[in-house]
């Protein structure tokens, strides 16, 4: 009993449990969804347009597809795509951010210009361009999301590194004749890792929402794939005839997943960067 009370007083532990819980929820969702992928494509016209109930918790659509299966498969696809794209994006940001701050003025100018350029173009427009240029589909969307989400994180990392560079211990290390590479690896990277991970996790919800919107607009995945964007855009046609479950259930699930990612990101930030609590 005492232990439990202690646990609730220990914020760090609470947060840790929270992270593990939401992360494993997402992982389970991802795995279950992957197993649903085949079931999500099964069409059966004898069970079309059913309202949510038993055995079809989320109802069925006009092809008689089980909406629960489609939603799970779609979310798992989105999560996979989000993780992939966010990881690539974050790595680009990390590398560019460090180069920009440590490799001298010219490199900095070029990369800052690149960042400004990318941030100047509306996200969704660039995404559509990249996706269409690469022939749509999974590859197009993944590359599109990966190539458009790095600038803000890159800027953050650059600023952080610039600040670090002026720290006395780094100045001293430099005076002792350590190379740029050594400084970056030993003294700078460990300090920006918390920022990096938080940025990475907070990028997921962005990536997922963008994947859904680009597919919704018809520039992403093709129609037979169970993707949340596809599900939502199909449901539009049937909302007017009162088939609310086609949009509501998958939409709520999408919002829930995005929130879960967001919470995880916040909690990771608290863990890795305890100082931020006092902000």
């Amino acid at each position: 009993m005492k232990r439990i009370r202690l646990f609730f007083q220990n914020r760090r532990q609470r947060v840790l449990v929270g992270v593990i819980l939401s992360a494993s929820l997402l992982l389970i969702l991802c795995i279950v969804g992957a197993f649903c992928a085949d079931a999500a494509r099964v069409t059966d016209f004898s069970r079309k347009n059913l309202e949510p109930g038993i055995p079809y918790l989320f109802g069925t659509d006009w092809l008689g597809r089980d909406m629960l299966m489609r939603t799970l498969a779609g979310l798992s696809l989105s999560i996979g795509l989000g993780v992939l794209a966010a990881a690539v994006s974050a790595c680009i940001a990390l590398i560019l951010g460090i180069i920009s701050a440590t490799m001298g003025k010219t490199a900095d100018t070029i990369i800052t210009f690149l960042i400004d350029l990318m941030m100047g173009i509306p996200h969704i427009l660039l995404l559509i361009l990249v996706s269409v240029a690469l022939g749509r589909g999974f590859r197009g969307v993944a590359c599109g999301v990966a190539l458009t989400h790095w600038p803000s994180l890159a800027r953050l990392i650059r600023a952080e590194v610039l600040q670090l560079k002026e720290q006395p211990y780094i100045q001293i290390a430099r005076k002792l004749g350590k190379s740029n590479w050594y400084l970056a690896k030993k003294h700078i990277l460990p300090h920006i890792l918390p920022q990096f991970f938080t940025g990475l996790v907070l990028m997921f919800p962005h990536a997922i929402l963008h994947e859904s919107s680009i597919t919704f607009l018809g520039f992403g995945l093709s129609a037979e794939q169970p993707a949340i964007g596809i599900i939502l855009s199909e449901s539009m046609k049937y909302l007017v005839t009162g088939k609310w479950w086609l949009a509501v259930c998958p939409g709520v699930m999408l919002a829930a997943v995005v929130m879960l990612f967001y919470l995880t990101g916040e909690q990771i930030r608290k863990l890795l960067d305890p100082g931020s609590v006092h902000e």
């Binding site: 069409t43 059966d44 016209f45 079309k48 006009w62 092809l63 022939g135 749509r136 919800p205 929402l209 859904s212 919107s213 919704f216 018809g218 093709s222 129609a223 037979e224 794939q225 939502l232 855009s233 199909e234 449901s235 539009m236 046609k237 049937y238 909302l239 007017v240 005839t241 949009a247 939409g251 999408l254 919002a255 995005v258 929130m259 967001y262 916040e266």
Partner: protein, 548 residues
Amino acid sequence: MQKKQRKKRILVSILLLAFSLCTGCTQGSGTGNSDQEDKTSTAQKESKDSVIVTMPVTSEPEAGFDPAYGWGAGEHVHEPLIQSTLTTTNAELDIEMDLATEYQASEDGLTWTVKIRDDVRFTDGEPLTASDVAFTYNVCREKSTVNDFTMLENAEAVDDTTVVFHMARPFSIWPYTMAVVGIVPEHAYDESYGQHPIGSGRYIMKQWDRGQQVILEANPDYYGTAPTMKKVTILFMEEDAAFTAALTGQVDVAHTAASYSDQTIDGYDLLAVQTVDNRGFNLPSTEPEEIDGVLYGNAFTADPEVRRAINIGIDRKEMIDHVLNGYGTEAYSVCDKLPWYNSACEVTYQPEEAKKLLTEAGWTVGEDGIREKDGIRAAFTLLFSNGDSVRQALAEDTANQLKELGIEVTTEGVGWDTAYTRAQSEPLMWGWGAHTPMELYNLYHSNSGSKTGFAEYSPYANETVDRYMDEALAASDLETSISLWQKAQWDGSTGITQEGDMPWIWLCNIDHLYYVRDGLHIAEQKIHPHGHGWSIVNNVDQWSWTEE
């Protein structure tokens, strides 16, 4: 505390974002039109000689109302309303006269002489003469990218009422072309004609708000029977918006799709119009080979027994009930119910016979229930165009049905940018159907525009079929031509039917559905071609309201 609020705000904004993702689109398309609709619908209640009709957004002619850019004579043929045509087709699709008083082809089919009426004026008061006709056809031949005019060498006005068409090659079905080309005035034609069309037809275009509506008013000086419907407003909108518009009573005729057909709207009846708007898929009929970097042919569907088995192994009735809620008819050819249809195309559903055909051809069932022969799996990808829910459903149902035969079909949505190329080696769900036998030529003739020696849209070639179609085009009169078109489909020993090569499988003709306001009488429709748009208003001049 502050921290918590911030978090809440962010959560709320995420939720809003997700929600706006769901709702954004309907709002966009819905509000755009509502102002116009309100105005027009109040006008409607006052007068009983106007009508408001909705059409799909894609029916709006992008390049305007210019026949040279596909108005009336484009991918989807219909009567041009604003302009008049030389001939016209009746409900049985036989040729009748409009501007023409008589026409005649020479023995060799290389000249067509057409006499026209001398009492017709354009709506700007100028008389319509043979030189306007010649001008129109010459412009179409030079400019038209959507319809084929290469059979015409040039058109020449001999005197004020006589036009002579000099043909590059015999083209016996020329009267069907003359039925869709609207005559434009030579004196008032320029590049912007499509935006301000002047014609001699039943209606005058009063207003065109791009992306929204077109308003047509009856031509007071029309030379034929005066239109009873004085004002026709066409609104361009998606099916869901059209449904809402009917629900709120803003329109008189709203186009709709089978997926809405179980909904009833007070004050409206559902009208189903028979069509040749067919859906079917091609089966590449040659062995795979690569030509100029494009793959032609398909190892599985190259076997004619496979194609025959698929044709009789598909339960079209079930498909229509499932996918179209019963609003459709079984299709056995690209031209069902048209004068040039050969009833030998018809088959019955025989699943056992289909399995037998496959087994006899050496396709034996493997361990997973899918057939195989010499290491080739009985499988193909069936493509459909992204966003077309009916074609997607037909593709899915085809996949389900063919699985029973031991054929594995996977479906894939594609864009039209890649669909044409991929269809050379993989079946694609197509939609066809036009008021001209040229469609047979375009699908089955091996010289129809391709350099490969195959038919244009799916690799197939049969000399006998080609010869019948060439003869049909060279025939001196329509009757002979039509019987030759029928022979091209099946002549008793070869053709494109079940007993023949079966390079295309036809599934169904999709009824065109409309919610029609009670009291509005829509004149008898001729069988609608492909395209759920302008066909319905072909005879809008004869529509009427029941007096209350």
